[in-house]
């Protein structure tokens, strides 16, 4: 596909002919020679769509089953250390272990101001 518009525009660079010869009482006038590049437009045709564009599938952002690391419940460090004492180096843990743990949730008492405060002496204890 040619570009007729471009051919009419491509007049910017103009070569003036070297005519300066005086002919009779008048001088000949220089012709204007334009450099054109209309031929380039023959290679520039629009791309026709063959149908609705298939968008690349975006990875699903939901319902992913991934391992989640849940922070361990707060346990006083001292309790853990105390319980860990009998465990010798190289001793197996798991089913051979006879230890049992109980989490003691401190009771909360509603105060007059509406806040919850733990009762006194309700430290976590090991059974």
């Amino acid at each position: 596909m040619g570009n007729s518009k471009a051919s009419s525009i491509a007049q910017l660079p103009v070569a003036e002919s070297p005519v300066t010869t005086e002919l009779g009482s008048e001088q000949a006038r220089a012709f204007h020679f334009a450099v054109t590049w209309v031929g380039l437009f023959a290679h520039l045709d629009p791309v026709e769509a063959t149908g609705p564009r298939q968008l690349p599938e975006a990875p699903s952002a939901s319902l992913a089953l991934v391992p989640v690391v849940v922070p361990a419940p707060f346990v006083q460090q001292g309790v853990v250390e105390q319980r860990a004492e009998p465990r010798a180096a190289g001793q197996r843990t798991g089913q051979d272990s006879n230890s049992a743990w109980e989490m003691v949730v401190p009771k909360m008492i509603r105060t007059g101001s509406g806040n919850f405060t733990p009762p006194e002496g309700s430290d976590p204890r090991l059974l």
């Binding site: 570009n3 518009k5 471009a6 525009i9 491509a10 910017l12 660079p13 070569a15 003036e16 002919s17 070297p18 005519v19 010869t21 002919l23 009779g24 009482s25 008048e26 001088q27 000949a28 006038r29 220089a30 012709f31 204007h32 020679f33 334009a34 450099v35 054109t36 590049w37 209309v38 031929g39 380039l40 437009f41 023959a42 290679h43 520039l44 045709d45 629009p46 791309v47 026709e48 769509a49 149908g51 609705p52 564009r53 968008l55």
Partner: protein
């Protein structure tokens, strides 16, 4: 399941019927009617605007087509085809700077799109960004070697690197001996370098291909005027005013050449006139 329990789902037709109708009309060459079916779409659909842009482009409504493709690239910024088509529309709407940006966007999405590189080079030539244009043409792959070489030759000519430009044109001319544009540019180049022999040679070649070529007639007229062959100058200028009546220089130079011919008749005869001339009409 009882019939009363069946739930009928009403599917809204959307714009697909409009698109289908437009495509059918376009395939039968009824572009105006095809375009008519795509006006006032009920909803935005990028494919509808793409088809609309294509039809507008085919109808030569480049500004309208640009607006259609603008809508597409707005909704699909990663659509390299739409950016490329938008660039072509902008180019044909004389929006050279904007077309460069669209071509560059298309190339950033699809670096292998040589046509975009070629279009970018063409726009850069119009913007007189000649070094950039030359570099762009050099980046084209062999798939578009011919047009890229032509672009390089043009850039070199505009950069006044005439020797390199002429070599590039000559190589192209060997494979495309009937290219009027290459010959026209070579005539302009020879005019620039004031090489009368080359002006004559290229003009005669062009005139054989295209007997009505104004560029060829201008070239031959120049050579005749420079060499004071007034009859030839008058002859070429006379043909020129017939094929290009708006060429004021041709009218002027025709008058000058004719005046010179007439003046030659009134000029004193050469002293060394032969015996046949000696007593002719002079008493």
């Amino acid at each position: 399941m009882q019939a009363s329990n069946v739930i009928e789902i009403s599917i809204k037709p959307g714009v697909q019927p409009q698109i289908d109708a437009a495509l059918a009309l376009r395939s039968s060459g009824r572009l105006e009617e095809a375009l008519g079916t795509l006006t006032n779409p009920g909803e935005y659909n990028s494919y509808l605007y793409t088809v609309r842009g294509e039809i507008e482009f085919a109808l030569g409504r480049f500004h309208d087509a640009a607006l259609s493709y603008f809508a597409v690239v707005h909704s699909e910024p990663d659509n390299a085809d739409a950016h490329y088509n938008l660039a072509l529309c902008l180019q044909r709407s004389d929006r050279w700077d904007a077309s460069c940006q669209a071509f560059e966007r298309a190339l950033s999405l699809d670096p292998g799109r040589d046509a975009a590189r070629l279009g970018l080079g063409a726009s850069l030539l119009y913007l007189n960004r000649l070094e950039e244009a030359l570099a762009t043409f050099y980046q084209c792959s062999r798939a578009l070697e011919g047009p890229a070489s032509f672009g390089k030759a043009v850039a070199l000519q505009l950069l006044h690197r005439f020797g390199e430009a002429e070599s590039a044109y000559e190589i192209l001319l060997a494979s495309e001996p009937h290219s009027e544009e290459i010959l026209s540019n070579l005539i302009a180049l020879a005019v620039e370098t004031q090489d009368l022999d080359r002006i004559r040679d290229y003009s005669q070649r062009l005139l054989k291909i295209s007997p009505q070529s104004p560029v060829a007639l201008q070239g031959l007229a120049i050579v005749a005027l420079e060499r004071e062959d007034h009859h030839a100058a008058a002859r070429y200028c006379d043909r020129l005013v017939q094929v290009a009546p708006d060429c004021l220089e041709a009218w002027h130079n025709l008058r000058v050449a004719l005046g010179r011919i007439v003046a030659a008749f009134g000029a004193p005869k050469p002293v060394a006139a032969g015996p046949a001339m000696a007593g002719s009409g002079r008493k």
